[in-house]
């Protein structure tokens, strides 16, 4: 069927600069560029271009410019280009439109409407360059009180996991991302003293040595879950849902289930790895509790158990149930959370922004006096240290970052993760493309990012006159809203700027 779709991107090649070295030809996994030997020119098939910029970055003479194809349909505020093209796509293919990465729709990003406080005159700010600043964070359920007898601690403490910065790499499963990418996350987490999350695809044997820095997931597919896997971790996380696709399952297409992926997931090569929508042993809070304690039993009560849900309308009530079910950590993933593959219609329309969910959950748990029973990790599109520090002031213990980590490794959010082709070598299991991530380099890029953001958080903390991240947690007085409605301010539990 003739496609009526126009190319999404336009490729401009400066012929004065193009030396026909064909680096672009070799770097494009989508086969956009080809060399025509007869005429000594490089031909670019724009219809295949995904705008990942790999060719442009690697072109040694900067001869390439990849830009959005500027074609226009008749302007229509309702029928925007995207919707027309999606309809064409489905008319031609007759299926669910898949996509990758996080929601790209212009929902209000509350971080951009919240501002932070700083000390002026009446309270001194702290210079983080001179004063010790504490970003160290402990994850896990905290006891109500500590009992001391004769100077000795009598209370038995629940298991805690210490991280040096409140930034954790979010779930990115092997199979969705390449082995080299996952290795880089593991190494960076280990070097910096934070955690990475295996995702639901198992943990390759080679990475078990980073277990002290691993959150391992137990999801509905139970891929690669065995007692050894569960015990090769710092935290076990029950994955109920994901911000990019709340309420639905997922599946890793058979073509991505290569030999090493099959070994890690413990399923035969080439079969679809289906993750059912619910975990079929969890239909209620009571069932959740059953699994939480099953995991605690299997890990000898040595590891905090996290439960991850997508941020949805009743997150607060659900979170309350989760804490009562025994979760030591609650992970909330907002509507802007990323994915390797999700139906576009779900990604773009289901769930709520993380800011609102976090505020609501924190508020609810405080009101019920069980906030200390769990740590809260929030996820879903954290773009910079400002977003993170605001999240902590709104009540989070730590944040999960995944998209930012991928961007640090080279990702340009071309949203083609679901194709299995990733020109940056991240979201692929193709051994040829996977080599593009050199774990030495990617680890460095990731630790640099963690370092940069941690320094920025310290700067902002110092400016507020705070020297430990602990003191900021849930301290909403340090936040003010700008351009927000009353209900928004109410849900966020913050005052408007100037108040």
């Amino acid at each position: 069927m003739k496609s009526y779709l126009l190319p999404e991107f336009k490729i401009i090649r400066d012929d004065d600069r193009c030396i026909r070295c064909q680096v672009c030809v070799r770097q494009c996994g989508f086969g956009v560029h080809t060399y025509d030997e007869e005429n000594d020119i490089i031909i670019s098939d724009e219809s295949k271009c995904v705008g990942c910029q790999r060719c442009a970055v690697f072109c040694p003479t900067n001869a390439l410019t990849i830009m959005t194809n500027p074609y226009e349909y008749r302007p229509n505020a309702n029928w925007r280009k995207e919707f027309i093209n999606d309809v064409k796509k489905q008319a031609e293919g007759g299926g669910v439109i898949l996509t990758g990465c996080g929601n790209d729709k212009p929902y209000k990003i509350y971080w951009d409407h919240i501002v932070l406080n700083a000390s002026q005159v009446t309270n001194p700010s702290i210079d983080p360059l001179r004063e010790p600043m504490e970003l160290r964070t402990y994850l896990g359920s905290k006891t109500n009180q500590l009992e001391m007898v004769d100077g000795e601690l009598k209370t038995v403490l629940t298991s805690q996991v210490m991280i040096e910065t409140p930034i954790i790499f979010s779930a990115l499963s092997y199979g969705a991302i390449s082995f080299n990418a996952q290795t880089s996350l593991a190494r960076a987490a280990s070097e910096f003293g934070t955690l990475f999350n295996s995702g639901e695809g198992g943990l390759p044997k080679e990475l078990r040595k980073y277990g002290k820095n691993a959150i391992v997931q137990c999801a509905s597919g139970r891929f690669g879950v065995d007692p050894e896997y569960l015990n090769s971790s710092a935290v076990v996380e029950i994955k109920i849902g994901q911000g990019a696709k709340p309420g639905i399952g997922g599946h890793l297409p058979g073509e991505k289930v290569s030999i090493p992926v099959s070994r890690t997931r413990m399923i035969p090569e080439g079969t679809d790895a289906l993750s059912p929508a619910p975990q079929h042993d969890i239909y209620s809070i009571e069932d959740l509790s059953t699994l939480i304690y099953a995991l605690k039993e299997t890990t000898n009560y040595e590891k905090p158990i996290s439960v991850k849900i997508a941020a949805v309308h009743n997150s607060a009530a659900i979170a309350s149930g989760m804490v009562r079910a025994g979760a030591d950590i609650i992970a909330l993933d907002g509507i802007r959370g990323g994915t390797g593959a999700a139906p576009k219609i779900i990604r773009d329309n289901v769930g709520i922004p993380i800011e609102l969910a976090l505020a609501a959950v924190d508020e609810r748990l405080r009101k019920e006096r069980i906030r200390n029973k769990c740590s809260i990790i929030v996820a879903g599109g954290f773009r910079n240290a400002g977003d993170i520090i605001k999240a902590i002031a709104l009540g989070a213990d730590a944040v999960y970052i995944a998209t930012a980590a991928l961007v640090a490794m080279g990702c340009t959010l071309c949203q083609k993760c679901y194709t299995g082709i990733c020109n940056w070598g991240i979201c692929t299991t193709d051994p040829w493309l996977s080599k593009r991530i050199n774990p030495d380099i990617a680890t460095k890029r990731l630790t640099n990012l963690l370092r940069g953001w941690s320094l920025e958080i310290k700067e902002m903390l110092g400016g507020m006159g705070i020297n430990a991240i602990e003191s900021l947690r849930g301290n909403r007085h340090h936040l003010r809203g700008v351009g927000l409605n009353k209900w928004e301010l109410d849900v966020l539990g913050i005052k408007g700027a100037g108040e």
């Binding site: 058979g254 070994r263 079969t271 289906l274 059912p276 079929h280 059953t290 099953a294 039993e297």
Partner: protein, 255 residues
């Protein structure tokens, strides 16, 4: 705790012992080198044998009614229940054997990736759900009676043998939606199943020599555990269900 040690076996009255304490006791005993643990008066204690990761294989005999997730994540131990079991028997089990002298509840062997489960009588809903296999790790479930709906749902590997003992002559098996979403593994059913009872992802195929061997081998074990007549069980037709595709949802998407 009242317990009685005799060589490498130990007996305990589990009455009113909190499950965590009971499991502590099992772990401690196993660490001490106990090879066989007999639990009397079990009444709803959960996760029996779940905390035995990386420990030499032991045998556990349960008298009474164990609670949910009996042998969840079981790492190779043998559990025999003299009584009925609850939900989640062998949940995500890795290795070992679970033998139930009675009925079992829902999600029996859910996501199991290895080991064997024998249930003398009936099981509840969604047995063998999302069970899988990898290389030589291939879970096997033998159920003496019949099951409730969704047996073998999302099944990705392993073997289920449903014997239908206790059904009247000509009476069909109970479950509907058998093998819904199934994309791997095999279900053998002895007795009558109507086509409308099957999920749309499964197909019926002829049994091969190899299939008969698998059935025979496991039925023998079943009969041996529960003192049944092998020949009588084998002297009946079996049907074999396998998934139509390794990729049941492969054509759902447009890129």
């Amino acid at each position: 705790m009242n317990n009685l040690q005799n060589g490498t076996s130990i007996k305990i009255d589990a009455k009113e012992i909190f499950y965590k304490d009971l499991n502590n006791f099992i772990l401690d005993s196993a660490l001490k080198g106990i090879k066989k643990i007999i639990l009397n008066n079990v009444f709803g204690q959960r996760y029996i044998a779940s905390r035995l990761y990386n420990i030499p294989k032991i045998e556990i005999e349960v008298f009474g009614t164990p609670g949910n997730d009996l042998g969840a994540f079981n790492d190779g131990h043998q559990i025999t229940v003299y009584g009925n079991a609850q939900d989640g028997v062998g949940n995500t089990m890795n290795e070992g054997e679970i033998i139930i002298h009675g009925h079992a509840g829902d999600i029996l062997g859910m996501s199991a990736r290895g080991g064997k489960i024998f249930v003398r009588d009936y099981v509840g809903y969604r047995a063998a759900l999302h069970m899988k296999h990898y290389k030589d790790k291939k879970p096997i479930i033998v159920i003496g009676g019949t099951a409730q709906d969704f047996i073998g749902e999302y099944m990705a590997g392993g073997i289920v043998i449903l014997l239908g003992l206790g059904l009247k002559k000509g009476e069909s098996h109970k479950p509907n939606f058998v093998g819904t979403g199934m994309h791997g593994g095999t279900i053998y059913i002895r007795g009558v199943v109507n086509s409308f009872q099957l999920g749309k992802e499964v197909g019926i195929v002829e049994l091969t020599e190899e299939d008969h061997k698998i059935i025979e081998e496991n039925v023998k074990k079943y009969a041996n555990y529960f003192n049944k007549d092998v020949d009588e069980i084998l002297n009946n037709d079996f049907i074999k269900l396998i998934p139509i595709s390794k990729r049941p949802y492969g054509k759902l998407y447009v890129y």
